[in-house]
Symmetry: C2
Subunit: 191 residues, 2 copies
DNA sequence: ACCTGAACACCGTTCAAGT
DNA sequence: ACCTGAACACCGTTCAAGT
């Protein structure tokens, strides 16, 4: 006879993300996660083959949420404004889920995990499409790498509290974003 | 009678960095570090009050090395060329010490550690000085934040193997760097 | 002062046993 | 099929004892 499932993969991912944001990685023991969803640690291994697998599932969950967020820009606006808007949505997501955001990019856990690389790629897709349309296929790739590098770098440093000389951080973000977009879309913007 | 010191803080930091680069964070147990310098784990606590302290010391060590590397640009060159050169030195350091580089910026361990924030600031200082000279005091801060965000973001993604669509990565780095520097120094460059 | 072995509470993971 | 308690090897850390 089947023991009824007390939880679900979905609920576990949610619990992981909540625990992570509340208490940091240190609070993410298998026992703590299990308790949060009302089971015991060994049961988690029926659904995830290791702790790393569990964290990756939570990261994938967050990446899907991010992809969703970026998927539907209002397409009546200019390319430039759409890119600007997506950048601010990206920042908003990172600031709302700082530790999950760090998890997504924690190289040690995540590099070389095919599913996660694909999920990151999917999240970056709408941005890539906009850029391809704006700068042409030839430069779309390096252009995307510039924009994504700036976004990730800024957020990474902002969340790690590396910006310590005051000044308005929001303004600094917008300043850099404008420089990056301008440098990529100069000709486009003048049309 | 004093038991003679079998090792030094210096040697321990070196061992930590070697172990880290060789085997990743997983191989960085207190027992493994101790063994690498010929002592037992409890002795490490005479010098560092916790594992986190030990990792921070290694990170500080690496940051000092980076600061040294960036400290002496040939000042007969143009500001633009100096910035370009520093950016490539920064990338070279990160690629040579990928896991140590990740450690330096691992937010969870490192945020809010005053000594590390100061060390990061010291490493960024020469870059900041060059920019202040180039764009003026008013915009030096956001300009530095843009450049540093780009550098860190690009390296962070490159080391995490996030760039998966081929294309020459070195070229992409230079492409983005040129866009960033141009957008900041347009007027300067025309002089 | 610095080093050590023994011990503590904790962790990820396995496994045989229950329903 | 899913859940469980007991057990394993490991970990960071403490401490009393050695020199």
């Amino acid at each position: 006879m089947s023991a009824p499932a007390k939880t679900s993969e979905r609920a576990i991912c949610e619990a992981v993300r909540n625990l992570l944001e509340t208490g940091g990685e240190a609070s993410l023991s298998m026992r703590a996660v299990a308790q949060a969803v009302g089971i015991r640690a060994p049961s988690l291994y029926k659904r995830f083959k290791s702790r790393e697998d569990l964290l990756c599932a939570a990261a994938r969950d967050a990446l899907q949420e991010l992809a969703e967020l970026l998927r539907h820009p209002p397409n009546d606006a200019q390319t430039y404004e759409n890119l600007e808007r997506m950048a601010h949505l990206y920042r908003k997501f990172a600031k709302k889920n700082p530790r999950t955001y760090a998890l997504i990019f924690s190289s040690e856990t995540m590099a070389a995990r095919e599913d996660l690389l694909a999920a990151r790629q999917a999240a970056a897709e709408p941005l890539f499409v906009l850029l391809a349309h704006a700068v042409g296929k030839d430069t779309a790739l390096p252009a995307a790498r510039l924009l994504v590098s700036y976004l990730h770098g800024f957020l990474s440093m902002e969340l790690a509290k590396t910006f310590r000389f005051g000044g308005n951080i929001q303004d600094a973000f917008h300043f850099g974003l404008t420089k990056v977009l301008d440098s990529l879309l100069v000709s486009k913007k003048l049309e």
